[in-house]
C-alpha cells in the first residue's frame, strides 16, 4: 500500500498546472486509497503480468496509411484567432518566456 500524502497530491496537481483547495486535496487522497486497494486486488490475479494490455476498444482495428494526395486542408489564421483571448495582428500574445 502506498502512503499518499497531501504534499504528493499537491505535487501531482502542480505538474498539471492545477491548484487544489484543502477540501479537494482531501477527497483526492481518499480516492487514491480506494483505487490503490483495488490495484492490490488486481496484482493478485494469476499471471496478470502475462496479459497483453488492452489499449483500444476494437481488436479488429486495422492501421491504414493515408494516401499522400498532396492536398492538405488548412485553417485560416484569422479564423483560429477568433477564440483567442489575447493576440496582436496575426500572432498570439504571451508574456516574455526567455529573459
Amino acid at each position: 500500500m502506498n502512503n499518499f500524502t497531501r504534499e504528493m497530491v499537491d505535487e501531482y496537481a502542480n505538474k498539471l498546472l492545477i491548484g487544489l483547495t484543502e477540501e479537494e486535496n482531501k477527497l483526492v487522497l481518499k480516492e487514491f486509497n480506494i483505487i490503490d486497494a483495488n490495484m492490490q486486488l488486481i496484482e493478485k490475479f494469476p499471471d496478470i503480468k502475462k496479459i497483453e494490455p488492452m489499449t483500444h476498444a476494437l481488436d479488429s482495428y486495422e492501421y491504414e496509411l493515408k494516401e499522400e494526395t498532396g492536398e492538405v486542408e488548412s485553417i485560416e489564421i484569422e479564423d483560429l484567432l477568433k477564440n483567442c483571448g489575447c493576440y496582436e495582428e496575426r500572432e498570439i500574445k504571451v508574456p516574455r518566456v526567455i529573459n
Binding site: 479537494e24 483505487i35 476498444a57
Partner: protein
C-alpha cells in the same frame, strides 16, 4: 407535436399536416419552458431555420446537440468555464451528417463538465434537474439531452458515452439511450474525454427512432481513423422484432438478491421489474440463462474505469491552457497564466480526476495502475466475448433503482454494496460493445431502465431485442409526467 416519434412527425410533415417551421417554433418555445424548470441547455438556437422536407426521415425535425459536440458558429462549451466563450469554426462529423439529412438543431444541451461526471451537477451553467421530479438528478453526463427528450422538447438529442453517459441518464429519465459499437459514428469534433472509450450516440423515446438517428450519424470518416465502414448496415430497416430462439444471459453477481444483504424495498422492486421483463422476452421465445462471473473481477470495474479514463483525460485535456483559445488567465508569466486558467476554469470534480490521471501516468506508477488496468480491461472483455459466442446479448437492470435526490448525491467513487449495479455499464465501453437502455417500469412514479448489450458490430441484434421487449411493454414514447404504472 414535438412529443411524437420521428416516424409520426415525418408522416405529418410529408402529408402537409404540419410544417417544419411550426415544429421548430414549438421546440424553441418548449426549450425556454424546460430551461426554467430543468436548466437543461447551454444555448437555445433562437434563429434555427426550417428546412425543406424530403424523403429523409429526419428532415425538418428539430433536435438537440450535447454541448461537447463542435458546432460551427454556435457556442460549444463542453459545459466548462475553460471554454465558456468558445465558438468552433467547424462542425463535428456527426452534426454535419445530420445537417445533410435535413435535421434542425434547436439547442445545445448541458452536461457534466467535458462528460466527466454522472450526476448532472458539474456543468458551468448549474445543476441539471430531472423533469420527472425536479428534486432529482438526471444522472450524467448527457443530462441536458436526457431531460429535454424526456420533457418532449423534440424526439431526440445527441449524447456521448464514455462510461454510461447516455445509458444511465436514459434510465433515470424514462427514455431510450443507445451507444452503438465503438467507431460506428465518427468522433471527429466530439470533445475528447477518454479516446479509447468515448462513443457518440443518441437519446430518444423509442428504439426505432434511435436506429433512424444513428443511421444518419454514422459513416467511416477519414478524420477519425478509428471509425469503420458501416454503410451496408441499415439499422432502422433491419428492425423486425423477431427474437424467437435468441439467447440472452444475465450476471448472477449483479442480479441475484442474495448479493444485497440489506436490500432496500426500491431495489427489490427494481429487480422484480427486471425479472418480469425477462418473462416478457421468454414469452416471445427468447432463452435467458443466468451466468456467474468471478466477483473479484467484476469488483475491479470502477477502478479500471477510473484509471483508464482519468489517464486518457489528463492527456487529452492538456491543451486547455487559455492561451490559443478559452478565457485568458491572470498571472505574471505563462505558467501562472495557464495555472490560473485551469484552476479557476475546471470544476472541483474534474480537477480531482486530472490529479488521479497525473499520478497514474507518472513513469514510476504507469505499470502498477495504467497498464494493469488495461490488462484487467482485456480480462473483462475476453470473458464477455467468450459469452457472446454462446449468447446473443447480455441483459441487466440499470442502477440500483430510480434517479436519486440531488441532495443525497455523492460524487465520490461508489460504495461497495451496490457498486456493480451502478457501474456495470462500463463493460460496454471497455469492449466497444453496442448497448441500449430502455425504460421497463416505474417505482413511486419514477422510471427505471433495463440494458441490453451485445458483441461488437452486432448492433442490429441489440436493437431488435430492445425493440421486441419495448413492444411488449407500455413505456414507448413516454414523456415526463406521463405515469404508466
Amino acid at each position: 407535436m414535438t412529443e411524437l416519434s420521428i416516424e409520426k412527425l415525418h408522416n405529418l410533415l410529408i402529408n402537409g399536416e404540419i410544417s417544419s417551421e411550426a415544429l421548430i417554433k414549438e421546440a424553441i418555445a418548449k426549450s425556454y419552458e424546460v430551461q426554467k424548470k430543468c436548466n437543461a441547455f447551454v444555448t437555445i438556437i433562437e434563429n434555427a431555420k426550417a428546412v425543406e422536407v424530403t424523403d429523409n426521415l429526419l428532415s425538418g425535425i428539430p433536435y438537440g446537440i450535447k454541448d461537447n459536440y463542435s458546432t460551427k458558429g454556435i457556442l460549444s462549451t463542453g459545459s466548462s468555464n475553460t471554454l465558456k466563450n468558445y465558438i468552433p469554426i467547424f462542425d463535428a462529423t456527426a452534426v454535419e451528417q445530420l445537417k445533410k439529412a435535413g435535421a434542425v438543431a434547436v439547442n445545445k444541451t448541458a452536461l457534466d463538465e467535458f462528460g466527466m461526471g454522472g450526476t448532472g451537477t458539474t456543468a458551468h451553467t448549474g445543476i441539471i434537474k430531472n423533469p420527472w421530479d425536479l428534486s432529482r438528478t438526471c444522472a450524467g453526463s448527457s443530462s441536458g439531452s436526457a431531460a429535454a427528450v424526456a420533457a418532449g422538447v423534440y424526439p431526440y438529442a445527441l449524447g456521448s458515452d464514455t462510461g454510461d453517459s447516455i445509458r444511465k441518464p436514459a434510465a433515470f429519465c424514462g427514455i431510450v439511450g443507445y451507444k452503438p459499437t465503438y467507431g460506428m459514428i465518427s468522433r471527429y469534433g466530439l470533445f475528447p474525454f477518454a479516446s479509447s472509450l468515448d462513443t457518440c450516440g443518441v437519446l430518444t423515446r423509442n428504439v426505432k427512432d434511435a436506429a433512424i438517428v444513428v443511421d444518419a450519424m454514422k459513416k467511416q470518416d477519414e478524420k477519425d481513423l478509428t471509425s469503420w465502414a458501416s454503410k451496408d448496415m441499415h439499422l432502422y430497416e433491419s428492425i423486425n422484432g423477431e427474437v424467437k430462439g435468441k439467447k440472452l444471459f444475465y450476471i448472477k453477481e449483479i442480479v441475484d438478491e442474495s448479493n444485497y444483504p440489506n436490500i432496500s424495498e426500491e431495489l427489490k422492486k427494481h429487480l422484480q421489474i427486471f425479472k418480469e421483463s425477462l418473462k416478457k422476452l421468454e414469452a416471445q421465445g427468447v432463452i435467458i440463462e443466468e451466468v456467474s462471473i468471478d466477483k473479484e473481477l467484476l469488483k475491479t470495474i470502477p477502478s479500471v474505469y477510473v484509471c483508464i479514463s482519468c489517464a486518457e483525460a489528463t492527456s487529452n485535456m492538456s491543451n486547455l491552457t487559455g492561451i490559443a483559445f478559452g478565457p485568458r488567465g491572470n498571472g505574471e508569466n505563462i505558467y501562472e497564466i495557464m495555472k490560473n486558467h485551469r484552476t479557476v476554469g475546471f470544476s472541483p470534480l474534474i480537477k480531482r480526476r486530472f490529479v488521479i490521471g497525473s499520478y497514474i501516468l507518472q513513469k514510476e506508477n504507469q505499470e502498477r495502475y495504467f497498464v494493469n488496468a488495461q490488462r484487467v480491461r482485456r480480462l473483462i472483455v475476453d470473458r464477455m466475448k467468450e459469452l457472446f459466442k454462446k449468447y446473443d446479448a447480455l441483459i441487466l437492470p440499470v442502477s440500483k433503482g430510480v434517479a436519486p435526490k440531488l441532495d443525497e448525491l455523492n460524487d465520490e467513487i461508489n460504495d461497495e454494496s451496490t457498486v456493480l449495479l451502478e457501474e456495470h455499464l462500463q463493460i460496454g465501453n471497455f469492449g466497444g460493445f453496442p448497448s441500449i437502455t430502455i425504460p421497463n417500469g416505474m417505482i413511486n412514479k419514477m422510471p427505471v431502465g433495463i440494458n441490453i448489450t451485445g458483441n461488437c458490430f452486432d448492433d442490429i441484434n441489440v436493437l431488435n431485442i430492445a425493440y421486441a421487449l419495448e413492444s411488449q411493454m407500455n413505456y414507448k414514447d413516454m414523456t415526463a409526467g406521463d405515469y404508466r404504472e
